[in-house]
């Protein structure tokens, strides 16, 4: 009987405590602290498993090529991956369709860790990405990467380094895209990508002949969240990457 009384007393005290303003204030502060901590951390890291990206994007109607000069800078070592592709994708505004791209990748994933590689990749509808490595590149060098329809009207897509044809994806099921892109990509927020797309261009051989046309920005230096870089990756991951924008 005494034990029951004691328990009732404890419960009453607990109820009083919960009712007390002081407790409510502490509880409120703790909850907002946790909520704000989680939200800020997730925002700063771009989520736990997303990839920070920023691309210069051009939306077109019959894009048959995308090229840009890309500076390989001297990105720090030992990040999972720092990459900078040029791409053509068949959907806009989000790249959820076919996509073909080429660029450099550097990080612990490259055959010799932290030594740049040119990669070429393709993804189809419901088909996983397929990635090939072409060879080793140098730091501190301008390279022109290009992907384009190999021959007018075909569904073969060629990848180039400068004027050297390095790789072909054949019978891709599409002969033009709606989106051209160039930019940086790294595993996670805060990756110091330091990617530059100079003179990114698209072409539309169907409507516009063999001309190459400039799009969006010229230089981009991307380092998530960290000024004083010219562009920042900020915000949530989308299917084609976060937009980069001038952050200082």
């Amino acid at each position: 009987m005494d034990l029951i009384k004691l328990n009732i007393q404890i419960i009453r005290r607990y109820v009083c405590m919960v009712k007390s303003s002081m407790f409510k204030v502490i509880l409120l502060t703790t909850i907002t602290f946790i909520a704000s901590f989680s939200a800020t951390t997730a925002w700063a890291q771009g989520g736990s498993s997303v990839t920070a990206q920023a691309f210069a994007i051009f939306y077109g109607t019959h894009i048959t090529g995308s090229r840009a000069n890309i500076w390989t800078a001297q990105q720090p070592a030992n990040w999972w991956a720092i990459a900078s592709p040029v791409a053509v994708c068949t959907t806009q505004p989000n790249c959820t369709g076919y996509v073909v791209e080429t660029g450099f990748v550097k990080g612990t994933v490259t055959p010799t860790p932290n030594v740049l590689q040119q990669f070429v990749s393709w993804r189809g509808l419901g088909v996983p990405a397929d990635m090939d490595f072409v060879g080793t590149l140098q730091d501190n060098t301008w390279y022109e990467f290009r992907v384009e329809q190999c021959d007018f009207g075909t569904t073969n897509w060629c990848a180039y380094l400068g004027n050297t044809h390095v790789h072909t994806f054949t019978n891709m099921g599409f002969n033009y895209g709606l989106l051209a892109g160039c930019g940086g990509e790294g595993g996670g927020g805060g990756v110091p990508m330091g990617v530059y797309c100079y003179n990114p261009q698209w072409r539309d051989t169907i409507a516009n002949g063999l001309n190459w046309n400039l799009y969006n920005y010229n230089y981009t230096q991307i380092n998530s969240l960290v000024p004083p870089h010219q562009y920042c990756v900020l915000g949530g991951f989308t299917t084609y990457g976060s937009y980069s924008y001038k952050c200082n």
């Binding site: 409510k24 204030v25 502490i26 409120l28 502060t29 703790t30 907002t32 704000s36 901590f37 939200a39 800020t40 951390t41 700063a44 890291q45 498993s49 691309f55 500076w71 800078a73 999972w80 592709p85 994708c89 989000n94 790249c95 996509v99 990748v105 994933v109 055959p111 010799t112 990749s121 993804r123 996983p128 990405a129 397929d130 990635m131 090939d132 490595f133 060879g135 080793t136 301008w142 004027n163 050297t164 044809h165 390095v166 790789h167 072909t168 994806f169 054949t170 019978n171 892109g181 595993g187 927020g189 805060g190 990756v191 110091p192 330091g194 100079y198 230096q221 998530s224 960290v226 084609y240």
Partner: protein, 187 residues
């Protein structure tokens, strides 16, 4: 009046909580990520591009001893797999014999032969500097998460297996291909 005082105290509590959370998060994130502390200097701005061809792709140094056995090929695959993939059911060198059928290791006389065998829509043109010598193809079956680069590539997808193609003479990874997608990982 009393209600107003109470409300003010609650508002102060919320503000303190929010500020505390932000400050704590920033300080923790900055410690965890060196790039946020500013300890990594930004890359030097590039010079203006000059006309002319870029430097050619460099050819990797051949290994002193080319990959000559299934066991060696598997070791190389394990080396790359650590960075690219995360298997639901772990594997090691013994898995090849312990779980027949889970891992396939196959040697090919050339990269193009492997491409044709896999029926991949790929051609390596004659002028390409890409390696085209003998290769090993290693496929590890089972649910696996593969981190793929690229625009719109799902970052958290799981696949049914993953395949690596590794150059026999240099040990270089030439190709990575996840199997059929099981879950896009997008919620």
């Amino acid at each position: 009046m009393r209600n107003l005082k109470k409300k003010s105290i609650y508002i102060i509590a919320i503000v303190l909580g929010v500020l505390g959370g932000i400050v704590a998060s920033i300080s923790i994130t900055a410690t965890a990520s060196p790039s946020l502390t500013g300890s990594i200097p930004p890359p030097t701005p590039p010079p203006t591009p000059t006309p002319g061809p870029p430097p050619p792709i460099m050819t990797p140094e051949p290994l002193d001893n080319p990959i000559s056995s299934e066991a060696e090929a598997l070791e190389w695959a394990m080396y790359y797999d650590t960075d690219w993939s995360s298997h639901t059911k772990a594997w090691d060198a013994d898995t090849l014999h312990r779980e027949p059928g889970r891992i396939q290791v196959q040697a090919f006389d050339s990269r193009m032969e492997e491409i044709r065998d896999a029926r991949r829509p790929v051609d390596i043109p004659p002028e390409s500097p890409a390696e085209r010598g003998p290769v090993w193809r290693i496929t590890i079956q089972g649910e696996v998460r593969v981190s793929m680069l690229g625009m719109g590539a799902p970052k958290n997808a799981t696949y049914d297996g993953v395949t690596y193609v590794i150059a026999t003479n240099t040990g270089y990874l030439l190709s990575i291909r996840p199997g059929k997608m099981m879950d896009s990982g997008e919620r």
